[in-house]
């Protein structure tokens, strides 16, 4: 018996372990001490970069940077009653209390992510000098400073975004312990000082060019560009409030900005691409014009999950509803339309479309049929009535008509190519023109008859309603019209049925439903550097230099010799079919351009001074060049023109009428006000109000 007891007590002692039994062995999960190694610091720096992706990850991407401006207004899937629409119309939904009561909290998303990024950068700034025994780039101080330059650059652009959106912001430049509760707001001028110091460090220490393996890391030119932009921004401020004033010395800042821009332009490391469209060509994201871009690629494993905020989701928001039209089915070519955005009249009308190629290159207007199964619907065939309305040379009974030399009969298939092949019994072929969201203007001669006669669906911006008998134009409209006894409906642009911005479309995704975009998002490209330099010079009164720089951008924007023009160019922009002559010279301006009013520029008043016209011209030029590139809201805030221009050029904002001057800043998230303390206690309601931005 003793034998058994001994055996059993042996078992007893086996499990009578010490506390060590409860220690956690780290296997798949990393913890803080990883940052004691060079490898860990490199991974920390990588994580500093990845914060950039947040801006492009979800609805805030357009809601905070393009909505509520003169360029873009609401699509049909962004109602006023929904939060995203609220960012265009500046309704109460975007105020801090709005967040608390369940509206989409886009500013808080960005606020949280960017402060997280700043903390990562702060930690990296603290840890990089402590790396010992590095075998990679951080083996010496020079290498450490290169990385330090990258991290300080990132911290600067994160702070720059925050200060532009919120004004005076609370922040630290040292890593957080998580326990700090007191977070006073810092004056805007101090934030700019810190940003400029960080960027200057990056200009001084970063490399001129990164090799292919490091493409996307900060370069000197990226730092120069941003530093010039920050200085220009600071110099545009007129507020002298100790908290809200931007500080700095205007002329010194402008001069320094201009010099930095020229340094960047002349560095030899970057240049403009000859054709504006090439900048946006998919697969050509790495090109000489790009100074700094948020990096994505086609590696699914590096794009995050479908609901990951750090994906590139910009490709969906700008697309309009093509897929419900005859002959169209949703596909990867035309993308997943979220119908959030509609271009404003202003953004359409400031283009000299005869010479300037940028608008048509930025918009997707023409859709070719994607329907693989041919519907047999009657709407694919010409009706007698349509024929009778469509063409001038029609049989009086509507049984035939002539279009572009072809005679069409009642019952003929509608789509273009099908008419060339009478034996084709299908009514629509893949590849036929099926849908056009037609960009034209008030000077158009397009009539309702021509729209019907086109044989494919057209949503035109403007068209003439004609007299049913005399066929004389009666009225220029930009809304739906029902012709005659109601069986032909002519459609005009409406939210959701308008051109899409083509810049971000992404046909390299796995399939049409996939959110995770594969394209780099360009944060800074050389064309903008030219515009920054031009604006800095112009604001200093040096219009010669301003013209010189801006003309480089405009020359590139023009149609070039031998360049094929879209059909719409000779149909609607005043061009001639087959004309491939250079339009560059016509695009160039001279110093006198700002001496008087130019109707194309849609200046906000005919009685502006030259300085004012110059500033508005620069905003127009930025709109033309940078349409939709997530800069407009900040540009308007920078130039202190947001309220005026949004109310003037954004129909939705004006119609809702709730926008106020104070909307140039975002409300501080309520969660922040609720979480911070003063003198060891939470803020009182009054203190929260005082801490909050004015008006919210």
């Amino acid at each position: 018996m003793k034998k058994y007891i001994l055996l059993l007590f042996a078992a007893f002692t086996l499990v009578t372990c010490s506390d060590e039994f409860l220690d956690e062995e780290q296997v798949g999960v990393l913890k803080y001490d990883y940052y004691e190694s060079e490898d860990g610091i490199e991974k920390l720096i990588n994580s500093c970069y990845s914060v950039q992706r947040k801006k492009y990850g979800d609805e805030w991407t357009y809601a905070l940077w393009n909505y509520g401006t003169d360029e873009w207004k609401r699509g049909d899937h962004a109602y006023t009653t929904h939060a995203m629409g609220g960012y265009n119309d500046y309704t109460e939904m975007i105020n801090a209390v709005g967040y608390e009561i369940g509206y989409k909290n886009y500013p808080e998303n960005i606020w949280t992510a960017y402060y997280n990024g700043i903390d990562r950068c702060n930690l990296a700034v603290e840890k990089i000098p402590l790396v010992e025994g590095g075998i990679g780039i951080m083996k010496d101080n020079e290498g450490k400073n290169k990385r330090m330059g990258e991290v300080r650059f990132l911290r600067a652009i994160y702070l720059f975004m925050l200060v532009q959106q919120w004004g005076p912001i609370p922040y630290h430049l040292v890593p957080s312990s998580g326990s700090e509760k007191e977070w006073p707001r810092q004056p805007v001028s101090k934030v700019y000082d810190d940003i400029i110091a960080d960027l200057q460090f990056a200009v001084d220490n970063c490399v001129e060019k990164q090799n292919d393996d490091n493409y996307g890391r900060v370069t000197k030119n990226a730092a120069r560009h941003y530093l010039a932009k920050v200085l220009l921004t600071r110099a545009c401020g007129t507020d002298t409030d100790p908290m809200f004033g931007r500080g700095g010395n205007r002329n010194e800042d402008l001069a320094r900005a201009a010099a930095l821009a020229e340094e960047c332009i002349n560095s030899g490391y970057n240049s403009l691409l000859p054709n504006y469209a090439d900048v946006w060509e998919e697969g050509n994201e790495i090109n000489d014009e790009i100074l700094f871009a948020t990096q994505f690629n086609q590696e699914v494993g590096l794009l995050g999950g479908a609901s990951n905020d750090y994906r590139n989701n910009t490709h969906v928001y700008w697309l309009n509803q093509y897929d419900t039209e005859v002959g169209m089915a949703r596909n990867i070519e035309y993308g997943r339309p979220f119908r959030r955005m509609m271009i404003t009249d202003y953004a359409c009308d400031i283009h000299d479309r005869l010479n300037d190629s940028r608008l048509r290159k930025s918009l997707l207007e023409v859709y070719y049929s994607t329907a693989t199964a041919a519907p047999t619907s009657a709407s694919y065939k010409w009706t007698a009535k349509e024929l009778s309305f469509a063409f001038t040379d029609a049989a009086t009974d509507g049984s035939w008509a002539v279009r572009y030399g072809d005679t069409l009969y009642t019952g003929d298939p509608k789509f273009e190519l099908a008419t060339e092949n009478p034996s084709n019994t299908e009514y629509v072929n893949v590849g036929d023109t099926a849908l056009v969201f037609l960009m034209n203007d008030r000077n158009t001669t397009l009539t309702d008859r021509e729209i019907v006669g086109r044989g494919y669906t057209v949503f035109a911006r403007y068209y003439w309603v004609t007299d049913p008998v005399t066929r004389a134009p009666l009225e220029l409209v930009n809304h739906d019209t029902t012709v005659a006894d109601g069986d032909i409906r002519i459609k005009a642009w409406v939210p959701g049925k308008a051109p899409s911005l083509v810049k971000f479309r992404d046909r390299y995704r796995a399939d049409v439903a996939t959110y995770q975009g594969t394209r780099d998002f360009f944060d800074a490209r050389l064309a903008e550097t030219y515009l920054i330099g031009a604006e800095a010079y112009g604001r200093l009164g040096n219009y010669t230099k301003a013209v010189e720089l801006v003309n480089v951008v405009r020359r590139r924007a023009a149609y070039h010799a031998g360049e094929e023009r879209p059909n719409l160019w000779w149909q609607f922009d005043g061009g001639t079919e087959g004309d491939e002559s250079s339009r560059e010279d016509a695009m160039l301006i001279n110093e006198g351009y700002w001496d008087s009013d130019v109707p194309l520029e849609h200046y906000t008043s005919a009685s502006l001074s030259k300085e004012q016209r110059f500033v508005e011209f620069m905003l127009n030029e930025r709109c033309r060049e940078l349409l939709g590139e997530m800069m407009r809201w900040e540009d308007l805030v920078r130039t202190e023109t947001l309220f005026q221009r949004a109310m003037m050029f954004n129909d939705d904002t004006r119609a809702t009428g709730t926008m106020r001057e104070y909307h140039k800043l975002r409300p501080i998230p309520q969660t922040h006000l609720d979480a911070i303390e003063t003198n060891g206690r939470p803020l009182t309601a009054g203190e929260k109000q005082a801490y909050q931005n004015p008006g919210f």
Partner: protein, 1121 residues
């Protein structure tokens, strides 16, 4: 020796005794002598013993004998000649008694005792009332007794059954059917680390027996608990075969850590997934509800403990049983969908709202445009059938209205729903053999379940063998084990029902040539799902091994040492293969292969000391234990395979391997514990239980790992006090008071140490994954704790004809691990801290009544359970402010729903016009026909402040009533389950009504239709509907008749001919009736829980409900050999 004692002894042995010869020859040395001398001589010379009552026999009487040498019988005959005394010779005993007693009054009774299900009951005590004359039944339940009394009454008693008394006068055969005593006061119940007599329980505990489990064809244990145990709320999140219901004991206590109870199977705590245990193997389930009972499981017991004991082999005779059932099932509640005519009218209403449909009646030309041109020719054809055509094919005009004659009921409507459903056939089989020898008990069982889902594609199969052994090696050493393996194959289905019910009823799945139409409605987003079962394959395969082993050594009187070891191994694999021919949005085929493995072990050392010292009963239990759970998983996904047959078994054959997804994970957690318990019983009246558990867990940081979980309970057996002893109406009365603390960890492994999170980036084409600080180290957090006070009464009246318990409790959960907010400017939004508080209080009633118990065999019993729980969040972050984002509201249950309050549909009335104008002036966009909501704060603006808690998924009360009526071999029973006061929050309840998608048949607003002005839903129109989520919530109380069963036990006389012990056949209707005020699908299913975020008790309104509830008919048989 006392005669009666002897008689009893005789009765017990008479079956096996052979008759000793009454011819044994006795040689007497005298011719005359006293009767006493003769008796002495017989006893000396033979094995006979002679018994008599002294007052009846005169030993001194002189007797003269005719022969000195003669058989006993002759000698006794001589000796008793002339007296009124006779003799009876039984075996080796000779009884002397007055002649009339022996010859006239001696009455022999035989009979057979069976239990309710008709099986024989061996070992039943049969005693003649008022005497010690008695016997026990044999293995076949048979007995035979010779009565001695004048007015004999037989008392039949057996542990676990209600005692029966039967008048025996004038009878010679009495068969008795003994009925289960639900109270079973003398029975022992499992309480964790041992057993206790049911009458000695001090805590709050519910028991469910194997009979109750077997009364319904359940797929898993939790289903068996529904409505059976007060305080235990069991509800479905869906109805897919093989899906396990959710179980809550006395409400939700934790916000982040989960609220599932701890399961202990044959003494070993096991991880979740208890649905893999075969319910037919279960002997009993005990639910430890209050802290005084569950605190012995300390840090894991906050949500209650469910102790499961499996059947074991006993007895020396092998007992073979077979249990089988087949069932057919159909949908109980389906979605009430619009038919073709209704849908067409809905679409017209939408078009009219856009002024695209110029007629306020149905017009064929407009219909051709909107149903034909804009949709498909098939759809127009369906609509066209609603019109009347003349012989020329022209539309007939109704002369009264002047409009085309149109009858919406003639519109063609395809019944997509029925294409997705089927009549399901299921079967359950279980074969078990139990028995043993003196030292060995064995139970071997094999169970097989094959359940078909009523939704095409869904099914569930489980194969589950079990072996339980107990071996008494020597009298002081015993070992044993219970082991089970199960393999479950589950096809959760591909969602055909959801897809089919999204189809436009006007559309057809196939064209006239029989070709499959992928886009029946001509809409890219409405894909035909009917081929999905062929082109999508999903298979879940779960293996589970559960083993519990023990060795027990008796060291000294009352002192025992026991070691328990447990293994819990589970492997889960899911494979998905999707082909492009399916309705999923894929261009190429894709496969997903996911598996995880969980291995847990437990080792426990236990010392028991149980002794009685006079009136003091003392029991001491000491425990030391350790355990660990290790988890790992791998997931892979790839697409574009060259051939289909590989499914997910050849992932490397992907033609686009660069799109493959790979992930894996690992974690391990350890726990260590010490526990001591003292049970003290004074005079069988005053009971005290005190426990103290000390637990340490690896998930906490050093220094915060260990904590104490004490409990204390008192019970007073009032019935045993002298003042109640003679009051027969009270059979039982006991008061209980318990107090204790239990815990729950609430954190995941590794997180308290501060972890990094992976970030994604790329430099050019160079991957640049990063690691950023994720959570701050939270080294000071510790256990979430629940402190419960429980007061209970156990009672039994009128010979336990009415019995039950009532419990009141108050459970305070404190130190809830929540995410305390940090200013985001720190770089972190949250950290973890022990800050929240939740309170649950409630009342539970269990009542068992025997309404009729007729000696003729008619019997009616009713069991009732009723639970009432009030759950509320007391504190979230200490600031008394609701956390709307995480759906937590002070004073409301954890699973609350917060929204605008629906106030009808805006009518075309002056009042509503004023209302609309008023709120639109403050920035709203209301229109007639839209949803009206209440202005809660009355500030003339509708905004987020006008939301409030509209309800919760927590019921006000739940309960079950079961009734059993038995007569002879027949039994009719039914079971009713009810759940009252909870709500369902489901987006699908509010269809888009946009004329594009399918909708269920809601009463929407239509200004043209007088019947639809007083509507519940908005006017159909395209585009976003404001405030439609105010309609998501709906109260969903219900009462369900879970089953009605008629069973019949075949008489022994018949089945014994085929060598069977028992045979029962039954027919059962499952879920035959549902009574509810809920209007969209079955209110029992709450929908799936939100699987992101940290309030794990929210039901996701978007997820919807998986599976359709069923009703069915079951035919079953139970046979014993």
């Amino acid at each position: 020796m006392k005669l009666t004692f002897i008689l009893m002894f005789l009765a017990m042995v008479h079956l096996s005794a052979s008759v000793h010869s009454q011819n044994t020859v006795i040689n007497l040395s005298m011719n005359t002598g006293s009767f006493g001398e003769i008796i002495n001589a017989i006893e000396e010379q033979s094995e006979f013993k002679i018994f008599y009552k002294n007052e009846q026999i005169n030993l001194d009487r002189k007797v003269s004998l005719t022969s000195k040498k003669a058989p006993v019988s002759a000698i006794l005959g001589d000796a008793l000649k002339g007296t009124d005394i006779g003799y009876t010779l039984i075996d080796k005993v000779i009884v002397l008694a007055p002649v009339e007693n022996n010859l006239v009054k001696q009455q022999k009774i035989t009979g057979r005792i069976t239990s309710g299900d008709g099986s024989p009951l061996p070992g039943v005590n049969v005693v003649e009332k008022g005497t010690t004359n008695g016997t026990v039944t044999d293995i076949d339940g048979k007995y035979s007794i010779t009565l001695i009394g004048q007015e004999p009454v037989l008392v039949f008693s057996f542990i676990g059954y209600l005692t029966e008394e039967v008048e025996a006068a004038g009878k010679n055969e009495i068969d008795v059917l003994l009925v289960d005593d639900i109270q079973r006061l003398d029975e022992v119940v499992v309480v964790g680390y041992g057993t206790v007599k049911k009458s000695d329980i001090t805590g709050s505990l519910s028991s469910v027996t194997s009979e109750q489990i077997m009364s319904l064809p359940v797929q898993n244990l939790n289903q068996a608990l529904q409505g059976r145990a007060a305080g235990v709320d069991v509800f479905n999140t869906g109805f897919t075969p093989g899906s396990a219901p959710t179980i809550r004991i006395r409400g939700n206590k934790s916000i982040k850590a989960g609220n599932d109870p701890l399961y202990v199977l044959d003494g070993i705590p096991v991880e979740s997934g208890i649905e893999e245990v075969n319910p037919l193997d279960i002997e009993s389930i005990e639910v430890l509800k209050d802290a005084s009972a569950s605190a012995i499981y300390g840090s894991r017991a906050a949500n209650g403990v469910i102790l499961i004991t499996t059947k074991r082999g006993t007895g020396r005779t092998a007992y073979v049983s077979y249990e089988g059932s087949i069932s057919i099932e159909k949908a109980l509640v389906t979605i009430d969908l619009m038919d073709g005519g209704q849908w067409a009218e809905m679409r017209r209403t939408v078009l009219r709202s856009e002024e695209a449909y110029p007629y306020d009646y149905a017009d064929p030309e407009a219909d051709e445009e909107w149903f034909g041109n804009e949709m498909t020719p098939d759809i127009w054809e369906s609509v066209k059938m609603g019109y009347t055509l003349d012989e020329n094919g022209d539309y007939v005009i109704d002369p009264e209205t002047g409009h085309p004659l149109y009858d919406p009921s003639k519109v063609r409507s395809y019944d997509w729903e029925s294409d997705a459903l089927r009549t399901a056939h299921s079967q359950i089989h279980q074969l078990s053999v139990s028995g043993g020898t003196e030292n060995l008990g064995v139970l071997l069982s094999v169970g097989y379940t094959n359940q078909e889902g009523i939704e095409i594609g869904q099914d569930y199969k489980r194969f589950s063998p079990r072996l339980n052994l107990d071996y008494q090696a020597v009298d002081w050493f015993k070992i044993g084990m219970s082991t089970s393996y199960s393999l479950a194959l589950r096809d959760p289905g591909v969602g055909i029902y959801g897809g089919a019910t999204s189809q436009i009823p006007l559309s057809l799945p196939y064209d006239t040539a029989g070709n499959f139409l992928m886009l029946p409605a001509g809409d890219d987003l409405i894909k035909n799902p009917l081929r999905d079962n062929k082109y999508i394959n999903i298979e879940e395969r779960t293996s589970r091994y559960l083993g519990s082993y023990y060795a027990e050594v008796t060291l000294w009187k009352g002192l025992k040492y026991r070691i328990n070891a447990g293994i819990d191994y589970r492997h889960y694999r899911r494979g998905d293969f999707i082909e492009p021919e399916s309705s999923r949005l894929v261009n190429v085929n894709s496969a997903q292969y996911r598996q995880n493995e969980r291995y847990g072990w437990t080792l426990e050392n236990l010392v028991f000391f149980d002794r009685t010292f006079g009136q003091h009963d003392i029991g001491i239990t000491l425990l030391q234990s350790a355990g660990a759970t290790r988890y790992e998983e791998t997931n892979m996904e790839a697409q574009n395979f060259a051939y289909v047959s590989q499914q997910w078994y050849n992932m490397e054959s992907s033609l686009s391997p660069d799109l493959s997804t790979l992930s894996s994970d690992f974690n391990r957690r350890q726990i260590q514990s010490y526990m001591g318990r003292i049970n003290y019983d004074l005079m069988d009246k005053y009971l005290v239980t005190a426990t103290l558990r000390y637990d340490g867990a690896s998930v906490f940081y050093k220094g915060n790992r260990w904590d104490y979980f004490p409990s204390f309970a008192l019970a007073w057996k009032v019935k045993n006090e002298s003042f109640l002893q003679n009051i027969n109406a009270v059979t039982q009365l006991k008061l209980r008071l318990g107090y204790g603390t239990t815990g729950q960890s609430g954190v995941t492994p590794y997180e308290t140490d501060g972890t990094l999170v992976e970030t994604l980036y790329v430099f050019g084409e160079t991957p640049a994954k990063g690691y950023a600080p994720n959570l701050l180290a939270t080294r000071d957090v510790g256990w979430e704790k629940t402190t419960t006070t429980n007061f209970g009464i156990d009672f039994g009246f009128v010979n336990n004809r009415i019995s039950g318990s009532i419990d009141f409790y108050n459970a305070n959960t404190h130190d809830l691990l929540l995410e305390s907010k940090l200013p985001a400017v720190t770089g972190y939004s949250i950290t973890r801290a022990n800050i929240g508080k939740v309170n649950n209080k409630g009342l539970e009633i269990t009542l068992n009544t025997i309404n009729i118990s007729n000696p003729g065999g008619f019997r009616w019993e009713t069991d009732l359970t009723f639970s009432f729980n009030r759950e509320k969040v007391v504190e979230i972050y200490g600031d008394n402010v609701d956390d709307i984002n995480n759906n937590l509201f002070i004073g409301y249950p954890i699973g609350s729903y917060y929204n605008y309050v629906y106030d009808g549909i805006l009518q075309d009335t002056p009042e509503d016009s004023v209302w609309i104008a008023k709120y639109n002036a403050s920035g709203s966009f209301f229109e007639t026909g839209e949803i009206k909501v209440k202005d809660i704060d009355g500030n003339d603006t509708i905004n987020g402040f006008d939301r409030e808690v509209v309800g919760s998924n927590v019921p006000d009360f739940t309960g079950g009533i079961s009734n059993r009526v038995a007569y002879k071999g027949f039994e009719l029973s039914f079971f009713v389950y009810f759940r009252v006061g909870q709500g369902i929050y489901n987006r699908a309840r509010v269809p888009a009504l946009d004329g594009r998608y399918m909708a269920w048949d809601v009463k929407y607003y239509n200004p043209l239709d007088p019947d639809r002005r007083n509507a519940t839903h908005q006017q159909p129109r395209d585009g976003q509907i404001d405030f439609q989520n105010a309609l998501w919530y709906k109260e969903a109380s219900f009462l369900k008749v879970r089953n009605i069963t008629l069973s019949y036990n075949l008489p022994k006389s018949i089945i014994s001919k085929v060598k069977m012990n028992s045979l029962q056949v039954y027919v059962m209707a499952t879920n035959p009736f549902l009574f509810t005020n809920y209007d969209y699908m079955d209110p029992e299913a709450q929908g799936r829980y939100v699987n992101t975020g940290w309030n794990r008790n929210q039901v996701d309104p978007v997820q919807g409900i998986s599976g359709i509830s069923t009703k069915g008919l079951v035919l079953g048989v139970r046979a014993g050999f």
